[in-house]
């Protein structure tokens, strides 16, 4: 995730093509066939004659604000008026929209990479467009291009000449594309790194006008809900649709590869139809174990001395542990977690002429296009996607088998494409439908030497692989180790010279998936509470202890020093209040947090204040970095306090928000976010705010009670 951007400025080859009357601008990677004509999709921005600018975003916006972030980058170079900007989701050409943080081979949003992938690409698009507009205007006005500039959405020339950009768009499109457009130098920036650029979507989202997939209304559209297997791995044996079809408004009951679909004129009718449906399930291959059995199995696996795939190994930890003056032997347990985005999963499919159209939260458009094509029985070129603004993701909209996308296509196909079909998951479907953050167990033996420092560390992790058996396996799993199971431990900056980390990935029928900050959701908890415990054993201040161990990690030191100063670390707190500290690197960013808790005197506690310091490279849009840290802390805190999905005999116990408790407003602490100044390329912010909060709170609790909580959620 920390690779350099593979495409430098020089490796770009620019292509340009006119779409309609406006300027369309795209870049092609040099590896692409230069003879291939640019399609209307090979574009990053379009300028229409009325001067509105539509920016095509390579990344889906699920709330993280990347549409506004990309708009800011273009606006900086093209000097646009933000009010004139619209942003649409792009798709259809990985050569144009491939995620550069993933090598540029596939389009996708995830791993907190959107700004990293976009920073150069979209500034280049804006700069090239500006140069071409200047050229076009200078020709029209018969003046030297050096005398023409673009400012606040206007083209300005000598002798008071001034015009909107729109009228020049068509002539600009005919200009040669500059081989290397001049980017503004940082001293010229008016928007990047500055306060004041607001999100483009706040007004629509504050007045109910924002359209999500759930809100799509197409002529004649039907809505489907599916009866899915009650146990993971069960399949349909038979069903009786007689009663369901008697519900007025139920149009069709159809078999799909994912369950039985009840297709109706509206959502409520489909739900009622599903209630009337009777399905017999074949449970031969179903997962029937409950959480208790799974934990027993995980504990057994953790204790086995049999060799396991090795994530990291050096020195001789067993020998070192014998020299330790103190040691910690601990087991940590983390439950399954649901994403529970506010917009339950959905997608819409329709046939328009020869094209299959699919609307949805298309987090991985290339993959979803291929999956939709396969389900529809057409060529990928016959599938058109519409990337919708999405009501939360947290990882759930990036799935290898395209779940709801394929369901929508199968349902529309099942009725002979005679109407568009929306598949809507209910909250219960969403909560019980799997794809959870895996249950994880860590078993650790760590020693402390005479100098108080870590000496010998053995670490076994047990938990399902997210990557195994998916198209991502090659990228994620190496020599039996899924990187997403061990990230944050295998590469821990605290690990001493004698260190061993291995991994057992049991096969369980419960589907698992990345969940905001992925492996760091559990690895940060273990490393940061363990190091805190070592500090206490060594008689050191937790901040000073970390600083000493991280002496060779300047970014860690910087966030620690900043958070300590802002939180007043070391200052006396009122009675009943305690602090905890954590620092963790993920997705290229380093985040430190100090959590302050207050005991309620009845054995409970509340988190009342969190101070956060983040180094995410150049802070392109500071207020949105703060927003992502605030949200990440709230998301992680909810899970740390109360979040868990459990199973009984293979069935998920929690079906709605009354069983699966997420953070509510009354538990939201006051959060202060401080950003470390940096000129380095931007790194992630969507996920890195999550990992430190659970250990920071657990460390505060330990400071308060003297006891370590090693099982999440903390209030279990």
């Amino acid at each position: 995730m920390n690779r350099q951007l593979p495409l430098s400025r020089r490796s770009f080859l620019l292509t340009v093509g006119a779409a309609g009357a406006g300027l369309t601008l795209g870049f092609k990677a040099q590896a692409a066939d230069p003879a291939q004509p640019p399609s209307p999709f090979q574009a990053y921005l379009r300028i229409s004659p009325d001067s509105t600018v539509t920016i095509l975003s390579a990344h889906m916006d699920m709330g993280q604000g990347i549409y506004s972030g990309i708009a800011l980058l273009v606006a900086e170079e093209l000097d646009l008026d933000p009010a004139a900007i619209a942003v649409e989701g792009a798709w259809g050409n990985p050569k144009l929209y491939g995620n550069l943080a993933w090598g540029g081979v596939a389009q996708g949003t995830g791993g907190s990479t959107a700004m990293k992938s976009s920073f150069q690409r979209y500034r280049m698009a804006g700069a090239a467009a500006r140069a071409m507009l200047v050229e076009a205007a200078s020709q029209a006005w018969r003046v030297s291009p050096h005398l023409v500039r673009v400012e606040h959405g206007m083209v300005i020339g000598p002798k008071g000449r001034k015009a909107s950009i729109g009228p020049f768009a068509e002539a600009a499109a005919a200009q040669p594309v500059p081989a290397e457009p001049r980017l503004k130098s940082p001293t010229e920036w008016r928007l990047i790194g500055k306060e004041g650029f607001r999100r483009l979507d706040s007004a629509a989202k504050s007045t109910g006008r924002q359209i999500y997939t759930a809100d799509l209304r197409l002529p004649g559209m039907l809505t489907a809900v599916l009866a899915r297997p009650p146990l993971f791995g069960a399949t349909v044996k038979s069903f009786d649709a007689t009663a369901a079809k008697k519900v007025p408004g139920v149009v069709e009951v159809a078999t799909t590869s994912r369950g039985v679909a009840v297709i109706a004129t509206d959502t409520w009718t489909a739900i009622k139809g599903r209630q009337a449906l009777s399905v017999e399930w074949d449970q031969t291959h179903a997962e029937t174990r409950g959480s208790a059995q799974l934990w027993a199995e995980y504990r057994r696996l953790a204790g086995e001395s049999t060799p396991a795939p090795i994530a990291a190994s050096r020195g001789n930890p067993d020998q070192a542990l014998k020299r330790a003056v103190a040691r910690i032997d601990a087991t940590y347990e983390f439950p399954y977690l649901a994403h529970a985005a506010m917009e339950p999963l959905n997608a819409v499919a329709a046939r328009t002429g020869d094209m299959i159209e699919v609307w949805g939260g298309h987090q991985m458009p290339d993959l979803y296009r291929a999956l939709a094509a396969k389900a529809a029985g057409v060529a990928p070129e016959s599938v058109r996607l519409h990337v919708m603004m999405t009501g939360g993701g947290f990882g759930r909209r990036a799935v290898a088998d395209g779940d709801v996308v394929v369901e929508a296509v199968e349902c529309a196909k099942a009725i002979g494409w005679r109407a568009p079909v929306k598949v809507q998951w209910t909250r219960e479907d969403d909560m019980t439908g799997g794809r959870y953050r895996p249950m994880m167990l860590h078993k650790v033996a760590a020693g402390i030497g005479l100098d108080g420092q870590p000496l010998g560390w053995r670490h076994r992790i047990v938990g399902q692989s997210i990557g195994a058996g998916t198209p991502f396996e090659k990228m994620l799993v190496h020599d039996g180790v899924d990187h997403t199971s061990v990230e944050g431990v295998s590469d821990s900056p605290y690990a001493p010279a004698d260190f061993h980390c291995d991994l057992i990935s049991p096969k369980v029928g419960v589907p698992v998936l990345w969940w905001r900050s992925v492996g760091h959701t559990h690895t940060a908890f273990v490393t940061e509470t363990l190091i805190d415990e070592m500090a206490v054993l060594a008689g050191k201040d937790p901040l000073a202890y970390r600083r000493a161990l991280l002496a060779a990690h300047p970014r860690h030191l910087a966030v620690l020093d900043l958070v300590a100063a802002k939180a007043g670390w070391g200052e006396k707190l009122p009675p009943g209040r305690f602090r905890g500290l954590a620092v963790h690197q993920s997705f290229g960013s380093v985040v430190a947090q100090v959590a302050e808790i207050v005991l309620d005197g009845k054995g409970g506690f509340k988190v009342i204040r969190v101070v956060c310091a983040v180094d995410c490279g150049l802070a392109v849009q500071p207020d949105q970095i703060r927003a992502q840290m605030e949200g990440g802390i709230g998301f992680g805190l909810g899970a740390a306090l109360n979040g868990r999905i459990t199973l009984t005999d293979g069935r998920v116990d929690q079906t709605n928000f009354n069983g699966y408790e997420v953070l509510r407003l009354d538990e939201m602490p006051v959060i202060e976010v401080h950003i470390v100044p940096s000129a380095a390329p931007p790194t992630g912010v969507g996920e890195p705010g999550v990992p430190p909060i659970a250990p920071a709170v657990a460390n505060a609790l330990a400071a308060a009670t003297g006891k370590r909580t090693r099982t999440l959620p903390l209030r279990s």
């Binding site: 007045t207 809100d215 009501g391 605030e630 939201m668």
Partner: protein
């Protein structure tokens, strides 16, 4: 059945037990009111019935007949303006899916209590889930709207 929504009367053909949420969204195309849980647990579907807050997912169509229904599309007046302006100025929304309900709840609170404390905000809005956890800005947005209204 006749329904009056945002001052407009509609004739609706739907079973009497249909939750008002789905009538608003699927029959009348008023999609600003959101489906989040269907069980009055998340607050995304908050509307007003005769000026009083109600969860549309837990209100059967039969209970809404003959009453004045206000959805996010129909809010107006000083409080509505103050809240939506504060929300926009502070960039409260992230994914935004829950924000119709948050805005409606903030309006209800500010109508009853023009200058709420943090504790009163917590009490009034803790039934409204936001998975993006924009809660800090929701609190700030309510205070900002209160200042606008007090000015």
């Amino acid at each position: 059945m006749r329904l009056t929504v945002n001052g407009v009367t509609h004739q609706v053909e739907a079973a009497a037990d249909t939750p008002l949420l789905w009538v608003l969204r699927d029959h009348l195309g008023l999609t600003g009111t959101k489906y989040g849980c269907g069980a009055a647990q998340c607050g995304a579907c908050l509307i007003q019935l005769d000026g009083k807050p109600a969860m549309a997912c837990a209100t059967p169509l039969s209970a809404a007949e003959g009453r004045a229904i206000t959805t996010i599309e129909g809010i107006s007046g000083r409080v509505a303006q103050a809240v939506t302006a504060a929300w926009t100025e502070l960039d409260v929304p992230q994914c935004g899916y829950c924000q119709s309900g948050q805005v409606m709840a903030a309006m209800t609170l500010l109508t009853d209590n023009p200058k709420p404390t943090d504790a009163q905000i917590d009490d009034a809005l803790s039934g409204h889930l936001c998975r993006c956890a924009t809660y800090q800005r929701i609190r700030a947005g309510i205070h900002a709207a209160a200042r606008k209204l007090g000015a």
